[in-house]
């Protein structure tokens, strides 16, 4: 059952899109991430123009994150104040990112930057996560006690001005690091079409040292705000949001996300992290490889403003 997408101007298999949304939603609920990094490459593989894929999947991330954040909010696991500070940075980052993406498309370098971003960010995050989680699993198998985390926060967090209290995260730190983190994630959100949870969660845990139970909920809140802004900016500036495409994806996505969140309790956290790390690493390497494979045709059409 094929359906014609009015903005992407291609015809795709509708049940396949709903299933894709459900699978990515399931992974998203299972690991507490947006899942955009998986969706983008698959959509492009299905023939959706990359610019439309990036912009429309940002909207899918809004929906699947919204469905999870409601549950986290009920458990009081969302730090709204921290989320607002990061989202303020995220709004700025998204604006810069959308303009940057527009300029890159004009220069014909959008593919390169997208592929490089996937290779670098997914490669580094996946690699770090894999070593960390495998280390934990091996220690547990050997019956060794878990490695004690150095609980001291980096000193520079306290040296910066504009300190603010974040009661839910049990923090009293400068607003500069979380805001900067938001800017970075906002730029990624516009260029890669991802929520940025895979960067945000480790940064909140290891850099800001927030309380573990508010990390995922707060990161999802910040992701909703950033991707919502990205969607509006992409729609307003580039006209690349396909509402039929994102509708099909998010229909499957929200259901998948809820199922994923339920199942996630049945697995050990370190094993889940190891599997996620593998997926992240594979997608990153796969996207990066495109830079090294000789193209079938040395010429290609550059998408861009008509």
């Amino acid at each position: 059952m094929d359906i014609y997408l009015p903005i992407a101007e291609v015809s795709v298999n509708a049940p396949l899109l709903v299933a894709l949304g459900a699978v990515v939603g399931f992974i998203s609920g299972l690991f507490g991430i947006g899942g955009g990094f998986l969706m983008g490459p698959v959509l492009v593989f299905m023939g959706v123009p990359p610019a439309v894929a990036v912009a429309s999947q940002a909207n899918h991330v809004v929906a699947s994150s919204a469905s999870s954040v409601v549950s986290y909010s009920r458990q009081k696991a969302v730090d709204y104040r921290m989320g607002a500070v990061m989202a303020a940075g995220g709004a700025l980052g998204a604006y810069v990112g959308v303009e940057l993406f527009r300029w890159l498309r004009l220069m014909g370098q959008a593919d390169l930057v997208v592929a490089l971003s996937y290779l670098i960010f997914l490669g580094v995050v996946g690699g770090l996560m894999l070593t960390e989680s495998l280390g934990t699993i091996i220690r547990r198998r050997r019956g060794e006690p878990p490695k004690r985390q150095a609980n001291r926060r980096p000193m520079w967090l306290y040296a910066l001005p504009w300190r603010m209290r974040f009661p839910r995260s049990r923090l009293y730190v400068s607003v500069i690091p979380p805001a900067l983190l938001g800017v970075g994630v906002g730029v990624l959100s516009a260029i890669m079409g991802v929520g940025g949870g895979f960067v945000l969660v480790p940064a909140m845990v290891y850099l800001l040292r927030m309380r573990a139970r508010v990390v995922v909920g707060t990161s999802l809140l910040q992701i909703i705000i950033t991707t919502a802004i990205t969607t509006v900016l992409q729609a307003g500036r580039n006209q690349t949001v396909d509402i039929v495409l994102s509708g099909l994806l998010l229909f499957g996505g929200v259901v998948g996300a809820q199922l994923g969140a339920r199942v996630s309790g049945k697995f050990r956290a370190d094993e889940l992290r190891a599997v996620l790390a593998l997926i992240v690493l594979l997608v990153g390497v796969q996207m990066g490889l495109t830079l090294f494979v000789p193209p079938a045709d040395p010429f290609a059409f550059a998408p861009g403003p008509k």
Partner: protein, 255 residues
């Protein structure tokens, strides 16, 4: 009222043609279309005739990049803008075009992909060379033809350009048939169809027909909404996403 068209003198050969569908409607189930063109050749002397059917879609500049290997990594060059490339082009004929008419005639009439006026005006520069003034040279240099050929090759691969040297078939003496196959990616807009009659390598008669490809119904509405009120469209998309997320979450909580 039937418009009165002066008919050519009965002894002069002429051609006439009609499309089985004048407009193609793009709906949610659109997966391309095939339109049949029928036509007749009227020639009392029954001289050997060739028919050429050319369909040109709306023109849209294309941007092309060339990939080059730098330190093991394939990088895109600066994009080059080509103008004059129709969004869709089909040339069907009774015989290969080069057998029907000579190079100059085909070039003058713009028949066949090799004779499309695809140019990169932004790359052109007027210079004085060897004492000759106003020589147009391209910054693309000697590779210019490679670039131009790539435009056609890529369009052909996307099934947007098609040359069929046997696409026009006579089904009966004087009655011919051709098929226009539009892929899903065919651009929206007005398509000009030219039907040429050739005799002894010379164009004798020509008819034009217009074909429109348009989005209808919800597809048209969404497309216009996205392009005319992009910001509002963006807010609507986000509102739908938030609402769906919230509804799913409350449904699953009860269930």
């Amino acid at each position: 009222m039937i418009p009165v068209v002066p008919l050519p003198p009965a002894e002069e050969p002429h051609i006439s043609a009609a499309l089985t569908a004048g407009d193609v409607k793009v709906t949610s189930s659109f997966r391309g279309a095939a339109i049949v063109l029928y036509g007749g050749v009227f020639d009392p002397q029954r001289r050997p005739s060739d028919v050429v059917v050319v369909v040109r879609g709306p023109e849209r500049p294309v941007r092309l990049v060339r990939k080059t290997r730098v330190a093991g990594v394939w990088l895109n060059s600066r994009p080059v803008v080509f103008e004059g490339a129709p969004g869709f082009y089909m040339a069907a004929s009774t015989r290969p075009l080069s057998d029907i008419a000579d190079f100059g005639t085909l070039r003058r009439l713009g028949l066949g992909v090799d004779h499309l006026k695809i140019e990169a005006p932004e790359e052109a520069r007027v210079e004085t060379r060897f004492g000759v003034k106003d020589v147009v040279v391209s910054r693309l240099g000697g590779d210019y033809l490679d670039w131009r050929r790539a435009v056609i090759r890529l369009k052909e691969r996307a099934r947007l350009y098609d040359t069929d040297p046997h696409g026009v078939r006579f089904v009966d003496p004087g009655l011919f048939r051709a098929e226009v196959r539009l892929p899903t990616e065919a651009p929206i807009g007005r398509y000009e169809t030219e039907v040429w009659l050739f005799q002894d390598g010379e164009p004798v008669s020509m008819r034009t027909r217009t074909l429109t490809v348009e989005k209808v119904g919800i597809e048209r509405w969404i497309f216009n909404f996205a392009h005319r009120a992009g910001w509002l469209y963006g807010f609507a998309a986000v509102a739908i996403a938030l609402a769906t997320g919230w509804v799913a979450s409350s449904l699953f909580r009860r269930g």
